[in-house]
Amino acid sequence: MKKIILIIVNIIIIAFIGVMISIKAFPKSEYPVDIEKCVCVDVNGILGDTGSINDSIRKTAEKLGFNIMIYVAGSADADKTDYEIERYSENIYDDNFGAGTSGLIYYIDVSGRSPAYDYLSASGFARDIYRNKYSDITEYAGKSLPPSTEPVKKEHVSNAINAFLRDIESYAKSPVDYTLILLCFGIGVATFIILFFAIKYRYRFKHGQDSAVYVAGDKTHFTNEQDIFIREYTTKTKIQTSSHSGGSHGGGGHSGGGSHR
């Protein structure tokens, strides 16, 4: 019983320290936030005056310590494919803030294409915060937008932007990566358990004496030693063939993801 308690206590300690380690302190960006350039680009002018929206974006950018840009697509963007939207967003970001800086660009697809593709891209240390969360964020903000076949109103877009800003702020407030915690915690606990039981095994009694040493070889003899061939048979089986395919591709300074409406 004592051993079990001891093991549980150790697992709890490992878990606690794991959580402590995994709560990441935000690194300061090498580049200062370019507040003036943190804006909403409204191609078709759906929002009309973007002054208050820009204020909100800048406020959030200042708080989080990285650049934020929102691009509200217009009818001119309707012909873009998903891939083109991704490259286009990243290029706009790099052109606006410079490559390698830390920040986000949120592409809101209200161009009229169907299905619409909202895309979020991060660069610099913003990638560490929103890693694997891109689709969650775009889906959450996208709930404020109508289906791609319906007309878009000003409130839809402003609500989506506000939801987006709230969401990225809330993710930034809880930067604990639970997948990483579980993985590292698992590795630590597995190490503990394997080590504990492997060493414990070494402390068990090892018995080793072969009784064959007591055979008097000169007095032992075989009275019958026969190996008689009885039969032979051959079987054949068809060899199963299988094919594999696969591949990988990598990206540069941006990572991102999005969702369709």
């Binding site: 150790n10 040493v213 032992t220 019958n224 061939f229 032979e232």
Partner: protein
């Protein structure tokens, strides 16, 4: 009318005649013997000219004191020149309980070759590699508990018949086109052998772990000498509390294992062997009561007794090291934590 009670040549229990097989059978060890074999055996014994040296037995009875441990029940023998004060097993005081009868006199003995200092050094080397034993297991006080002890053993020379049948397979595989071909050749294997084992030992002390004593084997029987009380000087000796019949199952098991090895080593060249019939029968056993030298030590930790033994002739050692679980858990946790931390650092950069 005088009747003869036949004893089992293997384990010395009484033999009974079995009408269904027309043989003598031992209910204790399940051995069976032809009537003619047993009658011949007894006729040989009656004609034997050997006599028991009564002077030696008398000497043994007069000069051997028996001490009893009231705590663990151990019976310790010592010559009348020395006094046993503490039990080698539980380290409690022992009391003189009388003299021994001649039946406990061993036939042969191997004297100690390993000095106390050498035995202690062997222990120190062994324990040095074990980090997680309790601290006091390594102390000089613990080392003082090491006792030079003559352990009573029964050794058995077994005359065994082996009869084995098996099917052996030789398998060859090759590929041609889209097909894999497997060619199998089967052979009927038959082996019969007369196997003699000599000196399989079994300790006659129930308190000492049997496997511990097996683990410090083998002893070199070339050093076996006729028993003399002089060997006891400076050492203690244990009185057996298990007779031949009690240890025979162990002897039988080990003799069978040895026989199986002989048979197995004669079957080779096959990819698989399936045994269909295996019979190892012990026809007769010759016994000896011998004393073998062992440096013995016990250690009580968390209500469990850990035994440690060094072969007093060859220096081979065996034992169960006690494990300080708290110490081990602490060490494992530290490594686990370090691995966790490194994983987080690596994970933070890579993911």
């Amino acid at each position: 009318m005088e009747s003869t009670e036949y004893k089992c040549p293997n384990c010395s229990a009484g033999l009974t005649f079995m009408p269904e097989t027309q043989k003598f059978g031992c209910e204790y060890c399940s051995s069976e013997f032809e009537v003619a074999y047993i009658q011949q055996l007894y006729a040989d014994e009656e004609n034997a000219t050997g006599t028991v040296d009564t002077a030696e037995i008398q000497d043994f009875e007069e000069h051997t004191n028996l001490y009893h441990c009231a705590s663990c029940g151990a019976d310790i023998m010592a010559d009348d020149e020395q006094t046993a004060l503490f039990c080698y097993y539980c380290h409690n005081p022992v009391i003189l309980s009388g003299k021994l009868t001649g039946e406990y006199k061993p036939d042969k003995i191997i004297g100690f070759k390993l000095t106390r200092e050498q035995a202690e050094n062997r222990f120190k080397e062994w324990v040095k590699k074990r980090w997680f034993v309790p601290k006091d297991f390594k102390t000089d006080e613990q080392l003082e508990k090491m006792t030079g002890l003559y352990v009573p053993f029964w050794t058995a020379d077994c005359d065994m018949k082996a009869d084995v049948e098996a099917i052996g397979k030789k398998i060859r595989t090759w590929t041609s086109g889209d097909y894999k071909y497997t060619n199998t050749k089967e052979y009927a294997i038959a082996r019969k052998a007369d196997i003699i084992t000599e000196g399989i030992p079994a300790d006659g002390e129930s308190k000492i772990e049997d496997l511990l004593m097996e683990s410090i084997e083998p002893f070199d029987y070339d050093d076996l000498k006729d028993f003399s009380m002089s060997y006891f000087s400076g050492f203690f000796a244990d009185k057996f509390d298990m007779g031949k019949a009690d240890v025979f199952p162990r002897i039988k098991q080990r003799a069978t294992q040895a026989g199986k090895k002989v048979i197995d080593s004669s079957i080779f060249g096959y990819d698989s062997v399936i045994y269909s019939h295996e019979n190892y029968r012990i026809l007769g056993t010759k016994w000896q009561h011998i004393m073998l030298p062992v440096w013995f030590m016990t250690y009580r930790y968390k209500d469990k007794v850990y035994e440690f033994a060094v072969n007093g002739q060859t220096g081979k050692l065996a034992g169960t090291p006690p494990l300080d679980s708290a110490k081990l858990a602490l060490f494992s946790s530290a490594i686990g934590l370090a691995v966790t931390a490194v994983s987080f650092l690596i994970g933070g950069f890579l993911i």
